[in-house]
């Protein structure tokens, strides 16, 4: 047994693997990693024990860890449904809150729920439902209508009410009468065009800790960890935020973007204000969260490979890979027959690379804001919608397609904007890094208890040498 007084164990219960990272808190560095299968659907302790055995083999025995913290995306992740009033306003604010909390959105609804909507929601059986609608003192009729329907429905998942304050008491009464779990949080849009998603985010996280961890059977391994703190995507975001903002002792890297390209989805996180870089630009639409996460459910290297090719165009993928279109079709067929498949030869690696590049371009474009020119009687005006990320200082890529690639930088470059498309406000010239060892979740978990060690671990592990914060003024 080693002395573990200065060691932390960071666990991720993923959908495929149980991942472990052992960190030396003094050195701020990863000491060893371990991996086991994901066995949440049967008995989580089996995969966890296998991962611990693997880690122990690498470390020559397990120390007595000071912290043992976990995140989880197993058993389908944190499956959420959001409900709001106007699609582009409170319904969108609710979506942003759920995504920011690390949820996997399985349904989003606006206006009055219909019977068909309700049936759909019941069939989706979400882990948590977020109910919003109305600014404070604004419309309360629709959120009350929806609350009444939900309270009377067979749905029994915890509900977070984060809408019009004026309706909160009545909603609480409805759920109490129905004997259903409800948390009330601050309104996601307290005043018109004012976004305040942190209270809802925190309420969701609390439900995750208090109830979902148990509901998913993760607490069967409770003796092997201290706490499951958050869903994995929320841990990645917390890691990104720490790197961007720094600690008391370490200045942060400034505005930052993380792209996580997975087998089923591509996630993009931005930690940046994204305000217009020119005063002449008029901003339009709902203000966006400073810490923003988007999930592209149609862009995944294995489960959604065909969707990537269809969105980007078969011809473009074939051209970028330098192969024939039939070769791309052939590889897609093989992937669909077996999503665990590995390329195995140079041609298939080239197609995978082209698909990853396409997914990254599309995901980044959808995440970043855009500008358009509106002709007015007084001349042209530039209107910006969404975040301006052109001056982001750091871009970090992660996920299998980057971690295992021969030239990850060549793939990551596809995220950047250039003069050929001036309407897209994608990062232009950030410093680029690849999180090959999937450390960001561990950084995010550790950030709450040992921020300086977490920061050092990220800098060392991701190979960031500093000097990136020249452009941080836009943050």
């Amino acid at each position: 047994m080693k002395s573990g007084a200065n060691m932390a164990l960071l666990i991720d219960f993923g959908s495929t693997y149980t991942k472990l990272r052992a960190v030396d808190l003094m050195a701020g560095a990863i000491v060893a990693t371990g991996q086991g299968p994901s066995t949440v659907t049967t008995d989580i302790t089996v995969g966890m024990q296998a991962a611990l055995d693997d880690l122990s083999a690498h470390m020559g025995g397990l120390p007595d860890f000071r912290h043992r913290l976990a995140s989880s995306s197993a058993a389908g992740g944190l499956r959420m449904v959001t409900v709001g009033l106007v699609k582009e306003l409170t319904a969108e604010a609710a979506r942003q809150a759920a995504l920011g909390a690390g949820a996997r959105l399985v349904g989003s609804y606006a206006y009055r729920l219909t019977k068909a909507d309700l049936e759909e929601i019941v069939a989706l059986a979400p882990d948590v439902l977020l109910l919003s609608g109305g600014t404070d003192g604004g419309n309360s009729e629709v959120i009350l209508h929806n609350a009444r329907l939900l309270a009377d429905s067979p749905l029994n998942c915890p509900v977070v009410a984060a809408g019009n304050r004026a309706a909160a008491d009545e909603i609480r009464g409805l759920f109490e009468a129905a004997g259903k779990p409800l948390s009330v949080a601050g309104n996601v849009m307290p005043a018109f065009q004012e976004l305040d998603i942190d209270p809802a985010r925190e309420a969701i996280r609390q439900i995750f800790i208090d109830r979902i961890v148990h509901a998913k059977g993760i607490d069967r391994a409770a003796e092997m960890f201290d706490a499951v703190l958050m869903p994995t995507p929320a841990a990645v975001m917390a890691g990104a935020k720490l790197l961007s903002e720094g600690t008391m002792a370490n200045p942060g890297l400034g505005p930052l973007v993380v792209i996580d390209i997975g087998g089923a989805t591509t996630d993009v996180h931005s930690i940046a204000a994204g305000e217009p870089t020119s005063e002449a630009v008029v901003q339009y639409g709902l203000p966006e969260p400073h810490d923003k996460r988007t999930v592209e459910g149609d862009l995944g290297m294995r489960h959604n490979a065909r969707a990537i090719v269809e969105t980007a165009g078969l011809k473009q993928i074939a051209t970028d890979a330098g192969v024939s279109e039939s070769a791309v079709e052939g590889w897609l067929a093989d992937i669909e027959a077996n999503v665990e498949i590995l390329p195995g030869d140079a041609q298939r690696e080239a197609i995978d690379r082209a698909m990853a590049r396409a997914a990254i371009t599309i995901a980044m474009k959808r995440h970043a804001g855009s500008v358009r020119i509106v002709q007015t009687a007084t001349g042209p005006v530039t209107v910006q919608q969404g975040k301006d990320l052109t001056r982001v200082a750091v871009l970090i890529g992660t996920g299998g397609a980057l971690a295992h690639a021969a030239d990850p930088a060549g793939i990551l470059l596809a995220a950047l904007g250039d003069d050929s498309d001036r309407t897209s406000l994608r990062p232009r010239a950030p410093a680029m890094h690849v999180d090959r060892d999937y450390l960001l979740y561990a950084v995010g978990l550790l950030a709450g208890v040992e921020p300086d060690a977490a920061f050092a671990m990220a800098m060392n592990g991701i190979g960031i040498t500093g000097g990136e914060n020249e452009q941080r003024d836009t943050g």
Partner: protein, 153 residues
Amino acid sequence: MSLVATGPARGRKLVTGVIGADTHIVGNRILSMALEEAGFEVIALGALTPSEDFVKAAIETAADAIMVSSLYGQGELDCRGFRDMCIEAGLEDILIYVGGNLVVGKQDWTDVERRFIEMGFDRAFPPNTRTDDVVAKLNADFAARAASGGIAK
């Protein structure tokens, strides 16, 4: 002494903004400030506001009236179907006002006003309208609606 909101008009919620590809914000801002001063709650959308955004804002905030400004002569085009859009959105009875330089050229105001009333606006205001006139009309219209049982608070 400026006019203030009285009786049923007090504390009513008004959405203001400049409709269409119109950047003229000054008059609208003065109106918004005056209305706030008079005791209304104002949700100011500012310049370059698409017509549907007035409606969306009114739904979310449960507004009592929408005040549309148009200064660049395209008002008639931009405001076409505005009442229908409110009806579609479930805001059948919301009070809607329009004002500014609504049309190009020298046209007879009574004719212009008639056209906007026919479009479903409750009131139309010509250039050089004083903010007090708007407050007076709001007081009268909210009082009339309260008397007829049309609105409740």
